[in-house]
Amino acid sequence: MSTLAVTAPAGRRFGIGAIVLIIVGLFVLLTLAAIAFGSTWIPLETVANVILGGGEKTEKLVVWQLRMPRVMAAAIAGAAISFSGYLLQRITRNELASPGVLGVVDGAALGVVLFLAIFSNESNALTVSVAWQPLAAAIGALTAISLVFILSGRQSSSAIRLLLFGIAIAAVAKALTTVFMLVGPVYQAAQAARWLAGAVNAISWSEIQIMAICLVPTVLVALWLAKDLPPADLDDVSSRSIGLNLPVYRIAVFFVAAVLTSIAVAFVGGVGFLGLIAPHLARLLVGRSRFAGILTSCLLGAMMLIGADLLVRVVFTPLEVPAGTVTAIVGAPYFLFLLMRKDKTNG
């Protein structure tokens, strides 16, 4: 009992700073490595040189047009999904909460599959530009979260109701997605399956720009909301007694978390488990500190998706395996470990 107990806050704060710095350092290294590795190896100093404006034409092309977009996309999407997961784990007071349970990811998937089904002609070619696919995903995601809120109705301030309706909507969306993939043409099924697994290989700078433009205001709102997370750590009665308008606050946080994830998955697809693992690891590393926790979980999420994409490129070349497959393969056992550990502490 007393071993847990005595902790000097000054020492703890210093510790958090050091941990955050180390993670930032690792993030920079991994980002550079992810740009350097690929079908051809570009030395790190060349990468740095190109980023700073130098380099030859081919090096520039490979770094700026081929490697950078997918690394950037992985970083931004990974961070957004993890931020979303962090908010959800805090607001539900449950370390097993993740963006997936809001129905957002499966809603986006359904949007993509519907898009592919509706805008294809008889010869399986898309009748509109594939650039519209993210919009379809975003519409699917936002429809799903809206349905969750509408169905929860007057009980939408209850975390457990929202989670249950989220799981239900996710299941329905998933079932419909499967149906459309089975009845649709094979090409569509393959295209949809790639999206479902989550991949950053085909992303362009203009898509990254759109993703960033959508994310900036959302992140600002999320950070502004995050200042009220500590009172929301208490039980419902206590947090309301100290003056937090919990019902409204909780809906706002759920909604912002859903939007964060929607924007990310619209562009990179249904990347699994990031939003569960990154915030959880962040909490293990830096504890309850809010902004350090958010920063750490964003960096860890970014690193995980960059790392997964890097693995895919290095290990599976020339096969383009979706990065989401890697996060799922690594993430699922971690999830099981969490569940088992939870059982232990409860028992």
Binding site: A5, P231, D235, S241, G243, N245
Partner: protein
């Protein structure tokens, strides 16, 4: 008795329903300023609901609750939180939160957007921790505390809120006898030394009679009786409200009435009827 001093809180014709169940039925209750009011009654009588309604955690379908003559429905969330504090029946916080972090949360309603933490907040937190004797525990984590320590930490959080009215919902439920007395003596001290208005829900009638200035018997959603403990601790009333056949004596130490139940009072109720 309390008519000389204007009431701090006035519950007027409050009707509160959960679905189709009427929990409080046109209930009226004055809560006198600077006194300890104890709500007592059998399980399910609505006393906890009433306490939460006073803190606006439930809103009634009819009636109103006036705080110094102002309907609490018209107050903002933080505004009300600066005036009425409430300690929940089973409060919970993350186990890795420290005692100091918890107590600091009591300052939440006092914090403005652009000026997050002031010296005044620090003073209030330290005073709350000193008053409850948890200063030595401030770096301990919530999950490592004993039941009595935990309860004191939570009371410290409510104190840091610096509200003039403090509501406590069965604060001594999970505590042993010594800690029950510690807790209620602390509450009583807050009332006597700082003149705060206290509203308590207590299960133990003898503790209720000992600490109450005004005792309130809540029965089936109504206030069945209110007054000084001596006026309420009568065998007929206890038989009606609590369905116990009890003998009433005077506590030789504090001079307050105590009851000794003989058994259930089905027969007694029938006789009265």
């Amino acid at each position: 008795m309390a008519d000389l001093v204007p009431s701090r809180i006035e519950v007027r014709d409050l009707t509160l329903m959960y679905g189709h169940d009427t929990v409080l039925d046109a209930l009226n209750l004055p809560i006198p300023r600077g006194k300890v009011t104890v709500l007592a009654g059998p399980n399910g009588c609505g006393k906890s609901t009433l306490l939460r309604a006073i803190r606006r955690l439930h809103t009634g379908q009819k009636g109103q609750i006036l705080l110094d003559g102002i309907d609490i429905a018209s107050l903002g969330a933080k505004d009300l939180a600066r005036q009425i504090g409430l300690l929940a029946q089973n409060p919970s916080a993350p186990p890795d939160m420290t005692v100091e972090e918890l107590v600091r949360l009591g300052r939440y309603p006092h914090q403005a957007m652009l000026q997050p933490w002031s010296e005044k907040d620090g003073v209030a937190v330290n005073r709350a921790m000193d008053g409850t004797g948890v200063t030595g525990l401030k770096h301990r984590r919530i999950g490592s505390l004993s039941g009595g320590q935990l309860q004191r930490a939570w009371i410290a959080m409510v104190l840091a809120q610096e509200t003039d009215v403090i509501c406590l919902d069965e604060p001594v439920n999970h505590l042993d006898m010594a800690h029950q007395l510690d807790c209620l003596d602390l509450v009583s001290k807050l009332n006597k030394e700082d003149g705060r208005t206290i509203v308590l829900v207590l299960h133990d009638l003898n503790l209720a009679a000992r600490y109450a200035d005004q005792l309130v018997f809540v029965h089936e959603g109504h206030v069945r009786a209110l007054g000084q403990p001596e006026e309420l601790m009568k065998p007929e009333l206890l038989a009606e409200v609590f369905e116990v056949d009890a003998a009433i004596m005077t506590d030789p130490v504090h001079g307050r009435p105590i009851c000794i139940p003989r058994g259930r009072a089905k027969a007694a109720v029938k006789e009265l009827a």
